[in-house]
Symmetry: C2
Subunit: 194 residues, 2 copies
DNA sequence: ATCAATGTGTAGCGGGCGCTACAAATAATA
DNA sequence: TATTATTTGTAGCGCCCGCTACACATTGAT
């Protein structure tokens, strides 16, 4: 019983994700979101309930697609050295695509407006931790494998790369030369023994 | 002729800077700014003209005090290796002070809300470039001195440290263990040959 | 004392925000 | 067909935003 849902939920989330990805959480207005989602207030508040909840759904969608692809690039190669380079490549490739927003939605969520909302904060930190954990585990395996020396500093190296990555996502809107960024990354990784 | 200005301009800028520093540009409201500056709309729009202009004045104030101190730490030591460590120390020291906002106002200005305003964008990028230039020059001198090897990659190394620094300012609100951060920095610098 | 110039306080404008109230439309069930 | 449940469109609420209009206060010059 009851009327049927008319709008395409997945498509709506996809559209909203794009917009959040481009403009950030608090600077994207609900009316603008509704416009690209092609639904009205009625439908929205009947199903998704709030802007905060929508952002959470978008983050999940983003992590299931973009983040997933990047993580796969890291993990699918047995060598962590090649894996981390494949990971960075997926990041830089998306930079070349003019139809793609410039910053990582997840990394961009490490900002006050998002972190103020406890629900969002918990999810964002958990997701970022998960990614770091995968990277750390990959490094640890490589250390035991012999790909990395026995005394390799797994923990600290993982942290440095994560921190650098955050910086990269920030600086990248202002940096235009891909070759330079690639050189930067290569030098950093070599310096870290990767 | 005409009435005298009653409020303390420098004190007002100081107070506004603190607030912007804590909350960012677009998320700090004018009324909240006026409250801490202890002036009314009348005085404000008669002298400072706009929120954008106020932010610019605050950035200048910040760079003349905080950024200046950090740059001095980098430059005052003849060794670039010790200088860069002294620089990071000034950053971490301010972290310990609970009365200090957690992020760098200048680094925090590398965000959409600020960069959208062309006037602000130009100033922010110019200031960041200036800092990077000083660091690059310091590295170059050290290379010619012999403190660094003749084939040291000055340009790329400077870029990596700048990018890492951006990431550090982002990640740092979520990182609480100073010793860990110090270890991260030390490992990074050693890895870069510094 | 008068006057022009400038600073200050107040009241509020126009607009956007996230969100809600509610009636109309559409579905399954009796 | 009448009833009940759910979705949808619309109109607008209450609030905050940056900013402005304007009367009033205070100054130095005449």
């Amino acid at each position: 019983m009851g009327r049927k849902i008319e709008f395409d939920y997945n498509r709506a989330i996809e559209k909203a994700t794009r917009l959040f990805w481009e403009k950030g959480y608090s600077r994207t207005s609900l009316r603008e979101l509704l416009r690209v989602m092609q639904i009205g207030e009625g439908s929205f508040y009947n199903s998704i309930k709030s802007k905060k909840q929508l952002y959470l759904e978008c983050l999940k969608h983003y992590n299931n697609t973009v983040s997933r692809r990047r993580l796969d690039a890291l993990l699918s190669d047995p060598s962590v050295k090649r894996g981390i380079r494949a990971f960075f490549k997926t990041v830089l490739d998306e930079l070349d695509n003019p139809r793609t927003p410039r910053v990582c939605l997840l990394a961009g969520s490490l900002s006050n407006d998002v972190l103020e909302e406890r629900t969002l904060e918990r999810y964002v930190l958990a997701e970022m931790t998960t990614f770091a954990d995968h990277f750390r585990a990959k490094l640890e395996t490589a250390r035991k494998n012999g790909e990395l020396p026995a005394n390799f500093k797994v923990e600290i190296t993982a942290q440095i790369v994560m921190t650098y990555l955050q910086g990269l996502f920030r600086v990248i809107r202002v940096l235009h030369n891909r070759a330079e960024v690639e050189a930067q990354i290569e030098t950093l990784l070599k310096g870290l023994g990767l």
